[in-house]
């Protein structure tokens, strides 16, 4: 009886030991996990708010991996309209902005939301319209072309979403000398002027449905024209005007406004973009055989 | 000509044959009681008689004409008879609107609808309830409104499914009185189902017994269905009518009780010093008749009980119809049998 008990005891303690070990291991695993959490948080990541055009054009897919390779900093991208992107910057929801609305970008920096605007690159806007168009193709300038559309009351699709493209469209209307309303839209727009408040792709599709005109950035247009299975019928009806130039800037969000932003990392990204290396990557990027962005860093 | 003739009528519900009538004839200007326990096919038969559900097999004749069970042909027939369900439902509307529904469906003018509805409500003693929402009536009131609503249809035949089963005693008496009154005043044929034999005796000219969907001939004299329960040492038989009788048995569960009509003692007043072995019940004499040289006394003791007694003894007791009496049972009076499981 006794012997049996003795034989039993070591087994019991062995079991206990095993349980203890398991528990210890559990505690250790938990601790390790907790320690790695801040490690995750301190990993080098920045959040960038940008316009849809940079993402839709595919540039970021080439640009960001190169940057991460060089610096080890990862970039999380939120693509939206320039207005919303700027709002993100003001609210501290992004560390850096990559947008194309020179006026508002300057205002953003002046108001202290951003530290500095770096001129990065430019691309250009184009006027897209129906195949048979002649009035725009024969126009002397983009302003004349816009005026001709308005006077013929041909369908014109406006982004209407406060995006950079929308802002540019308004400037072109102003240049056209037409009578405009308070929001810089043609005054007699009823029936032909469609302000749809949607992205570039939606606007292009909309214009095709209406067989009308739309101001587009070249990248998105090329993507729709050559990047899709079902072809896009509208063509470029005007391009090359100085007024259609579209400069992109990058602005790190000011850490004095929002202390939590990763200014150092963001600034590193901005400086990399305007460096020779960054500029070279941008210049080499092509979409469907067409160069899309032109390095612009020397300007400022 | 018969009011209804049913030939080989069968009804099958949920794959089960719930009604199987070789032949059933119901005469004009009579009142019939359909008797039988739950599930004996009473409601099913009433639905056929009301032209609400076609039988699976067989033919039904109404006043000599075969019933065509096509939906279109049924509406004119349905307008000649009306069914009051066991648990009548009233439309979510006022009482008056409910009662005038039948006249309205018959295309009567608005004023005629209103007049008939008000008269009908008056007849059931609910003349003042017209403008009230039907939703807030008590069970007995609902039953009476349903009756008024049926009467407003001015039917040739009034069909009732258990008119008193789900109301209190007071309302049950009222409804019984109403049915008698309608019979007398309007000459409407009435067919109603019930499981109260007393009610059947009181209201009907003829009784039809149903068991498992078939008509049976026996009158079930003094045979009662119910449940055997054990309380402490003693066993009781609970009848469907709710009467409780102490019996000597070892059985429990659904059972049938037969009370031997010749082994019942009848007392004109409560006897003193009666043997404790005997059960004693109060009752009232409904009817006395002579039968095969013996007197048959029908006593209401919550259920109808036939007592067979010699002419001499009855004369000696001086009992007359309407008298209050006491009934004494010795244990030999009872025989209990368990209900077969399959039934």
């Amino acid at each position: 009886m006794n012997g049996r008990e003795e034989a039993f005891l070591p087994f019991e303690t062995l079991k206990k030991e095993k349980i203890m070990k398991k528990r210890l291991f559990g505690c250790f695993a938990l601790a390790a996990f907790l320690f790695t959490l801040p490690a995750f948080a301190t990993e080098k990541v920045i959040t960038m708010s940008t316009t849809t055009s940079t993402q839709a054009s595919g540039l970021l897919d080439v640009l960001l991996p190169e940057f991460t390779k060089d610096t080890g900093i990862a970039v999380r991208v939120m693509a939206k309209g320039t207005g919303a992107a700027l709002k993100d910057g003001m609210d501290g929801n992004a560390d850096i902005l990559f947008v194309h609305d020179l006026k508002r970008e300057k205002k953003f920096v002046e108001e202290g939301y951003g530290t500095k605007r770096y001129a990065v690159m430019y691309n250009d806007f184009i006027l897209v319209g129906p195949k048979g168009d002649t009035i725009c193709k024969n126009a002397a300038s983009i302003a004349e072309a816009m005026k001709a559309i308005a006077e013929s009351r041909l369908p014109f699709v406006s982004r209407g979403d406060d995006s950079g493209t929308h802002a540019r469209e308004k400037e072109l209307w102003m240049a056209s000398g037409l009578a405009l309303n308070a929001s810089h839209e043609p005054e007699k727009g009823g029936g032909w002027y469609f302000s749809i408040g949607q992205g570039m792709g939606e606007a292009l599709v909309f214009a095709q449905e209406k067989n009308g005109y739309v101001l587009s950035d070249r990248g998105t247009y090329l993507q729709y024209k050559y990047g899709r299975k079902d072809g896009y019928t509208l063509e470029i009806v005007y391009e090359g005007d100085e007024l259609l130039k579209n400069p992109y800037g990058v602005i790190p969000v000011n850490p004095q406004k929002h202390s939590h932003v990763r200014f150092d990392l963001a600034d590193t990204f901005a400086r990399w973009l305007v460096s020779e290396r960054g500029q070279q990557v941008i210049g080499a990027y092509q979409l469907h055989g067409n160069p899309l962005f032109f390095p612009d860093a020397r300007k400022e | 000509m018969n009011l209804y003739s049913l030939e080989g009528v069968q009804q099958i519900l949920g794959g089960r044959r719930v009604l199987d009538l070789e032949k059933l004839e119901l005469e004009e200007n009579k009142s019939y009681a359909l008797l039988g326990p739950n599930g004996s096919g009473k409601t099913t038969l009433l639905h056929i008689l009301a032209f609400l559900s076609p039988p699976a097999h067989g033919r039904v004749f109404f006043r000599g004409k075969a019933v065509d069970w096509k939906e279109k042909a049924l509406t004119p027939l349905r307008r000649r008879v009306v069914l009051v369900e066991q648990h009548p439902i009233l439309f979510t509307d006022t009482v008056l609107k409910n009662v005038s529904y039948g006249p309205k469906m018959r295309g009567l003018s608005f004023s005629a609808q209103k007049k008939i509805a008000e008269e009908s409500l008056e007849l059931v003693g609910m003349g003042e309830f017209g403008p009230r929402p039907a939703l807030y009536l008590s069970g007995g009131e609902v039953q009476r409104v349903a009756l008024a609503r049926a009467l407003a249809c001015q039917p040739e035949v009034l069909l009732f499914d258990e008119p008193t089963a789900s109301v209190d005693v007071e309302n049950a008496r009222r409804i019984e009185a109403l049915i008698l009154k309608i019979r007398k005043e309007r000459g409407i044929s009435i067919i109603f189902s019930t499981h109260r034999r007393l009610e059947a005796l009181l209201l009907a000219d003829e009784q039809i017994f149903l068991s498992h969907g078939s008509k049976i001939m026996e009158s079930h004299e003094n045979i009662f269905s119910g449940t055997l329960v054990q309380r402490g040492e003693r066993h009781f038989f609970l009848t469907e009518e709710g009467v409780e009788i102490a019996v000597h048995t070892d059985l429990c569960g659904p059972a049938r009780l037969w009370i031997h009509p010749e082994k019942i003692n009848l007392f004109s007043r409560k006897p003193s010093g009666f043997e404790p072995e005997t059960s004693l019940f109060p009752g009232r004499v409904l009817r006395i008749s002579a039968e095969r040289g013996k007197m048959t006394v029908l006593v209401d003791m919550g259920l109808p009980l036939y007592v067979r007694i010699s002419r001499e003894r009855l004369a000696a007791s001086g009992i007359l119809p309407g008298d209050r009496v006491s009934l004494g049972f010795c244990k030999e009076a009872f025989s209990v049998e368990k209900k077969p499981e399959s039934l």
């Binding site: 309209g81 406060d162 449905e209 | 639905h47 939906e71 009548p88 439309f91 939703l135 807030y136």
Partner: protein, 233 residues
């Protein structure tokens, strides 16, 4: 939080000052969803009723199908209707794409299964005895159905109101089929999405408030209707 309360205050003043832009959007939303609900009710209530009372082969399959369609995402409906209404689609000649008509069509598709399913439930809940009672009192089959429909009226009304709520709160269809054209097909939800995209929240918050108010109003209406006859739903 401060940002939100500020937006809320501005939104309230916008609502109270009868801002024309705001009310045009609200009006369009109400208009479109009202007609979508109307058409869905005209089609769906009889369908739901028929489905509840009829017995035919494959009834269960039809009910399963309807219940499956309840989960139809708005974007799927948008895509589907777009394929038909687009200039290259079979209904393109109508020229309805990017008009309120297109939104109405899409929303009808969206809420029709809801109206059918909820009507079916409401009618199924009504006791069989209502129909039988109407019949024995001399009603024709049609009037008996009407009596049952009448008993189910609050359930059906609730179904229609729920459908309206879903129509007015959806965005996918209004965006894809309406195109969010300013002053023409811009509804409350597409306007909210746009304002958010633009980074401007005042109008969005105001519209959000109005959406809540509309839903509150519909529910009060339902309660009032039910109150007339007590607790029956």
């Amino acid at each position: 939080m401060e940002f939100f309360s500020q937006s809320l205050a501005e939104a309230l003043s916008m609502i109270l000052s009868m801002d024309q832009k705001l009310y045009a959007i609200i009006w369009l939303s109400l208009y479109v969803s009202f007609f979508a609900t109307l058409f869905a009710a005209i089609l769906g209530v009889p369908a739901g009723f028929g489905l509840a009372v009829a017995s035919f082969k494959g009834k269960r399959a039809v009910i399963t199908l309807v219940n499956t369609l309840l989960a139809l995402p708005t974007v799927v409906i948008g895509l589907f209707a777009y394929a038909f209404l687009s200039r290259s689609g079979s209904l393109g000649f109508l020229g309805w794409l990017y008009t309120p008509k297109a939104i109405i069509i899409g929303q009808v598709i969206l809420i029709l299964p809801w109206v059918i399913s909820l009507t079916l439930t409401a009618v199924s809940r009504i006791d069989l005895r209502y129909r039988r009672t109407a019949l024995t009192l001399g009603a024709t089959a049609f009037f008996a159905s009407l009596a049952v429909l009448r008993e189910a009226r609050f359930g059906i009304l609730a179904a229609v109101i729920a459908a309206f709520g879903r129509a007015i709160a959806e965005i996918g269809i209004a965006m894809m089929l309406g195109g969010n054209i300013k002053g023409f097909t811009r509804t409350m939800t597409t306007a909210m999405a746009l304002e958010h995209n633009k980074g401007e929240f005042v109008l969005a918050v105001a519209l959000g408030l109005v959406l809540l108010l509309v839903s509150l109003g519909m529910n009060i209406l339902l309660q009032l209707a039910q109150g007339r006859y007590g607790e029956r739903v």
